[in-house]
């Protein structure tokens, strides 16, 4: 276990080295939040307070937080794996007595810590103290911790399945872009799921993406979540986590047989 913690530590240390990247990511996310604020302010102007059962405050906070989580979970695992396969660097992982999936995951966790400091923390600060939405309570923050961890796990496994695909296809540029778009849209990170037409909402209910954003965010911004709803949400997340993990194990055992190690 200690080796995986060391990997997390090293990946955090590696990412924090590039100072300009640090400041730039902080700033760009804050600008984005400001854009969301004015865009949805304009949309709500003619609406009389509430659209699809959500007030402006709820919608804004939902989207600003969704973006922050998106940046928080953006660890580029799929890009990194594809890069390693294309350039043959993957061989350096294969010659170590280490589990690739766990290694990638703990590396991604280090990245998440970095993202938390650069993106999520400043964003939270701005959302809570400047826009003062007043829907986030200590209780809702506490309740959303476990769903956040599960959401990361699901998000990572979706990245990883794309990353493993590069064992077959080497380059995954197109697949990866498509995945980012699909995840953003169907998870309710760009438009809240409550705004979706009924049929789409039903379809999305059967997909894992909503478990990344919609579930933890709903928990975070609802004032009076019943314990029944909470457990139901956790159940959905947990099932997806287990299913995706198992699929990846199986996929890896197939993919590792075909991986070509380029160069050298």
């Amino acid at each position: 276990m200690k080796k995986y913690i060391m990997i997390t530590r090293n990946s955090f240390m590696s990412s924090i080295i590039y100072r300009f990247h640090f400041f730039y990511t902080s700033l760009s996310n804050i600008f984005y939040i400001i854009i969301i604020y004015f865009l949805w302010k304009a949309i709500y102007r003619g609406s009389g307070g509430s659209i699809n059962g959500m007030t402006f405050n709820q919608t804004f906070i939902y989207l600003a937080l969704a973006l922050s989580i998106f940046c928080l979970f953006k660890t580029y695992t799929d890009w990194e794996m594809s890069y390693e396969v294309v350039n043959g660097i993957i061989v350096m992982d294969l010659i170590k007595p280490i589990d690739i999936q766990l290694m990638k995951m703990f590396g991604a966790i280090g990245f998440v810590f970095y993202n938390f400091i650069t993106v999520t923390l400043p964003a939270l600060f701005i959302i809570i103290f400047i826009f003062q939405p007043g829907v986030i309570t200590v209780r809702s923050i506490a309740l959303s911790i476990i769903p956040m961890v599960l959401a990361f796990f699901i998000s990572f496994n979706i990245d990883y399945v794309i990353g493993l695909t590069s064992f077959y296809t080497e380059s995954i540029w197109g697949i990866s872009i498509a995945k980012d778009t699909i995840v953003l849209l169907l998870s309710g990170a760009v438009i809240p799921i409550n705004f979706f037409p009924d049929i789409l909402r039903k379809i999305v209910g059967f997909l894992p993406f909503q478990a990344i954003y919609h579930i933890p965010l709903t928990i975070l911004i609802s004032k009076d979540m019943s314990i029944y709803d909470y457990l139901k949400f956790l159940g959905i997340q947990l099932s997806w986590a287990i299913v995706l993990y198992a699929v990846n194990r199986l996929y890896y055992s197939k993919a590792i047989k075909v991986v070509t190690v380029n160069g050298g």
Partner: protein
């Protein structure tokens, strides 16, 4: 005791035939026209514990593919590999615990962080006992004194410094066997020597079995007592390096650039030299792509000086150099039966 046992090992790759050109690139998107490349073809050999053996072969001979199969990264198409009691690709994670691999083109160190941090993480990955770790670190310091490199991030090291650190890192967990794939590629002579001493010393102290590949005869000669020569995936020589040296050590390649050679043909030169200096292993004359003419001469039979004198008499020499025999020429000579 044999630590490596390889029998009838083959690795075939299926690759897409490229049509070439701009239109061809589009055609390739839909093409299912594959061809089979035999990267490694029916190789067998054994290695004793503590041996240093050199894999020599020109670029693309299948050296790296063999190393990749031996280190458990690639699954062989056919044949068997048994190293240290394991079938590498089957028990990969257990097997790699007791091996080290260094690829000259890549690094196993973490790019952004100081060298010593990479050592620490390797310590955890291989579950190295703290005593063994400290003992090894001390040994490295006593032997090579690389301490001043430890706090520099790997990306800021020069290629040679990085290679030294990479080699040390591969010895850190006391592996039974280490594979070096082109460890001296792209390095200048002084660093090359340093790396050779490093490998030699550590082999002596730790009794680690070492398998090393190279396309350059010099570095194999400097380290190994036994040599395996491969070309186009097949094994063409496996044996003592002294015998090899006795035969090829006498060879030199004389390279000359001639003034106004354009008019006369290489065949004429080849024929006249062949007649003038007749011997058991005739002098090979070849025109290189860059216009230089190289003559491969066996010094036991013909004096290089005589050949040079003759050429100087007939032609005007603009420039000349004398080199050791190239691996490609060795391979050609082995095919011609010179080692048999």
């Amino acid at each position: 005791m044999n630590i490596v046992k390889i029998e009838n090992l083959s690795k075939h790759f299926k690759i897409l035939k490229s049509s070439g050109g701009f239109i061809g690139a589009f055609k390739d998107l839909f093409s299912r026209d594959y061809k089979i490349i035999k990267a490694v073809d029916n190789i067998s050999f054994k290695v004793q514990e503590g041996e240093i053996i050199g894999f020599l072969g020109p670029n693309g001979a299948g050296k790296s593919t063999t190393i990749k199969m031996m280190s458990g990264v690639l699954e062989p198409t056919s044949g068997s590999v048994l190293i240290n009691g394991y079938i590498p690709y089957k028990d990969r994670r257990k097997y790699v615990r007791n091996i080290g691999v260094v690829f000259g083109q890549r690094t196993q160190l973490w790019w952004e962080i100081p060298v010593i941090e990479s050592f620490r993480i390797l310590k955890e990955i291989y579950k190295i006992d703290p005593n063994i770790y400290n003992e090894n670190m001390k040994l490295f310091n006593d032997l090579f004194n690389l301490k001043e490199l430890y706090n520099i991030p790997v990306r800021k090291l020069s290629l040679g410094q990085r290679m030294l650190c990479d080699i040390i890192a591969s010895f850190l967990h006391n592996p039974k066997i280490i594979f070096f794939d082109e460890p001296t590629i792209g390095l200048d002579v002084s660093v090359k020597n340093k790396i050779q001493t490093l490998i030699k010393e550590l082999n002596k102290v730790k009794k680690t079995t070492i398998i090393l590949t190279s396309h350059d005869i010099g570095s194999v000669e400097a380290l190994c007592r036994r040599l395996i020569l491969i070309d186009k995936g097949t094994l063409i020589y496996d044996g003592n390096i002294q015998k090899f040296n006795r035969i090829f050590g006498a060879y030199r390649t004389l390279k000359v650039e001639l003034e106004r050679f354009g008019g006369s043909s290489i065949e004429v030169l080849s024929k006249t030299i062949g007649e003038k200096f007749s011997c058991k292993h005739p002098i090979q004359v070849r025109e290189d792509d860059d216009g230089w003419i190289s003559l491969t001469i066996n010094q036991d039979e013909v004096k290089l000086q005589d050949v040079l004198n003759y050429i100087m008499k007939v032609y005007l020499i603009r420039d000349l150099k004398i080199e050791e025999i190239e691996t490609e020429n060795v391979v050609r000579k082995v095919y011609e039966g010179e080692l048999a």
